[in-house]
């Protein structure tokens, strides 16, 4: 499968996947309790990678319930049984929600089909919720986790004006969003609004503006996102040699 995956994607897509995994991992601080949910290959790779780089003392929580698993390989489904393997204890999703409600979950990664200027996200409906044009999968745990976790980092693998509108069609979840990682930039939330923290190498401010449905303000002095270092690339490849992170792009 990994061979087919790698052959099926362009160098550009591979570079984007690697960047996004590395940039997500940089938000993890050593010693934190970190969670990802369903449909989350990029955060899964980011967490496993961070454990071998700058955050060796993180605690990795997931839906199957394995605490700090050592999966033999990263599974294509991020609730698959491999995330129990090598774990020393068992902590269920129900307990993770309770942990977050008690204010003890440090960091969670959550995806959104739409992410708006306020950092709110939509995984529920496109169009009128009463007669939706698109029924999306639903937000899984996000409505609970966003307001209760210490910090959340969102990601989306497509950056276009429909995905990043001024306001979501439906707010599935809102809350303690620290940052949003996209293929073009990193947003940080400040004073209730997303602002561009850094723009990835090779992306022009005009291209970023054209791909974003809300006003980005002055980008003249916005720095470039530091590219993944050789050490980060090596750690990512070691964490995900099969390239499961690419599944978010195919």
């Amino acid at each position: 499968m990994s061979v087919a995956l790698r052959e099926g994607v362009s160098e550009e897509v591979r570079a984007t996947a690697d960047r996004m995994a590395v940039f997500l991992s940089r938000f993890i601080r050593d010693g934190e309790l970190v969670f990802h949910g369903v449909a989350s290959p990029l955060p899964m790779a980011a967490i496993v990678m961070a454990r071998n780089t700058h955050a060796p003392n993180l605690t990795y929580l997931n839906i199957p319930g394995g605490v700090d698993p050592k999966p033999p390989y990263l599974p294509g489904s991020t609730v698959a049984r491999q995330l129990m393997e090598g774990a020393l204890s068992y902590f269920t999703l129900t307990e993770i929600f309770d942990l977050s409600a008690r204010g003890k979950l440090d960091l969670a990664f959550l995806g959104g089909a739409q992410i708006d200027a306020r950092g709110d996200m939509n995984l529920s409906f496109i169009g009128d919720p009463a007669a939706p044009k698109v029924r999306l999968p639903g937000g899984a745990g996000s409505a609970h986790i966003l307001p209760t976790a210490g910090r959340t980092v969102l990601w989306r693998t497509a950056h276009d004006a429909r995905s990043f509108p001024e306001r979501c069609d439906f707010v599935t979840a809102s809350g303690n969003v620290e940052a949003v990682v996209t293929p073009l930039c990193i947003f940080e939330k400040a004073d209730g609004r997303l602002r561009v923290n850094s723009i990835h190498q090779g992306v022009t401010p005009d291209a970023l503006r054209a791909a974003t449905g809300f006003d980005l303000g002055d980008l003249e002095h916005t720095p470039a996102t530091p590219e993944p270092t050789p050490a980060e690339r090596t750690a990512l490849e070691a964490a995900d040699p099969e390239g499961i992170r690419l599944r978010e792009f195919v």
């Binding site: 839906i63 294509g76 999703l93 929600f97 409505a143 966003l146 978010e248």
Partner: protein
């Protein structure tokens, strides 16, 4: 050895049109797949399904026209195959009512029933449209005055759970992640088990703390080896992506869905056929 063991056909026939079912497992892991295929073959209608994260099970029943309502936090095929096409079409065409939940509110509703309460306070949801859209009401905590959302109890007629091991009386051991299965068993009026292996009772006496579902909660046991396929079941088999893809190719029409259901008949009933000798 017979005890509560019945055939897959008989077990699916316990479910009536309109019943609320909690389906065990999560996404494509340890799902009661053989059981939902049999519900589709028996043309059950107007079912209401509750689950935190569904995929093949919820989508197949939507494709079969068996679903009136879902109460879920997520329905999709993750990054393997994306959106759930039949669920999506059913909701967009107004045939399936999708009651929008967070996974935590599904859990809260099940907890209410498990605790013997009409509703359950739940944390989170601030700033989300989910509470207003679904109708979760906010009350003031009587002691602190703090606002808190209340989720109404969810009481399934059956929790349908696929487990690694069961005995003939319904004692069951789950291997790997249990997800919400244990809670579902406590919240539901009754439990139907499908099991990879039927074990002697002595197997459970050895480690009673590993028996997640005690027999007294269970109405029926089906021997269904491979019963989670094309999903995975620890420690026996992994998700079969090719077979999931084949299902998605077949879900577009009634004819091809029937072909899909037919292609699984023999495997789905193999355990029942083997057991019928000892039952008779």
């Amino acid at each position: 050895m017979s005890g509560k063991i019945i055939s897959l056909t008989q077990a699916a026939a316990l479910v009536q049109d309109g019943d609320l079912l909690a389906l065990g497992g999560n996404a494509l892991t340890r799902i009661p797949a053989a059981f939902v295929r049999e519900l589709a073959r028996q043309r059950r209608e107007n079912l209401c399904l509750v689950k935190t994260a569904g995929a093949y099970d919820v989508d197949l029943l939507c494709a079969a026209g068996a679903v009136a309502q879902t109460q879920t936090g997520y329905v999709g095929f993750e990054n393997l195959f994306g959106l759930a096409p039949s669920y999506r079409r059913g909701v967009e065409e107004g045939r399936v009512q999708a009651v929008e939940h967070a996974c935590s509110t599904v859990i809260a509703g099940l907890r209410a029933s498990a605790y013997g309460l009409p509703s359950q306070p739940v944390a989170g949801l601030e700033g989300s449209d989910v509470a207003a859209h679904t109708g979760f009401r906010q009350v003031k905590d009587p002691y602190t005055g703090e606002p808190v959302y209340m989720v109404p109890g969810i009481r399934p007629k059956f929790a349908v759970l696929h487990v690694a091991y069961a005995d003939a009386e319904g004692n069951a051991r789950i291997e790997g992640g249990a997800f919400e299965d244990v809670l579902m068993s406590r919240a539901a009026e009754s439990v139907i088990l499908t099991a990879e292996h039927i074990e002697e009772t002595a197997f459970f006496v050895e480690k009673p703390d590993r028996t997640a579902i005690p027999a007294f909660m269970v109405q029926a046991v089906v021997h269904a080896p491979g019963g989670a396929r094309p999903g995975g079941c620890h420690p026996f088999y992994d998700i079969d992506e090719d077979a999931v893809g084949a299902y998605l190719d077949s879900a577009s029409s009634a004819e091809s869905l029937q072909t899909h259901l037919d292609s699984w008949v023999e495997r789905d009933h193999a355990g029942s056929a083997a057991a019928s000798g000892s039952v008779a």
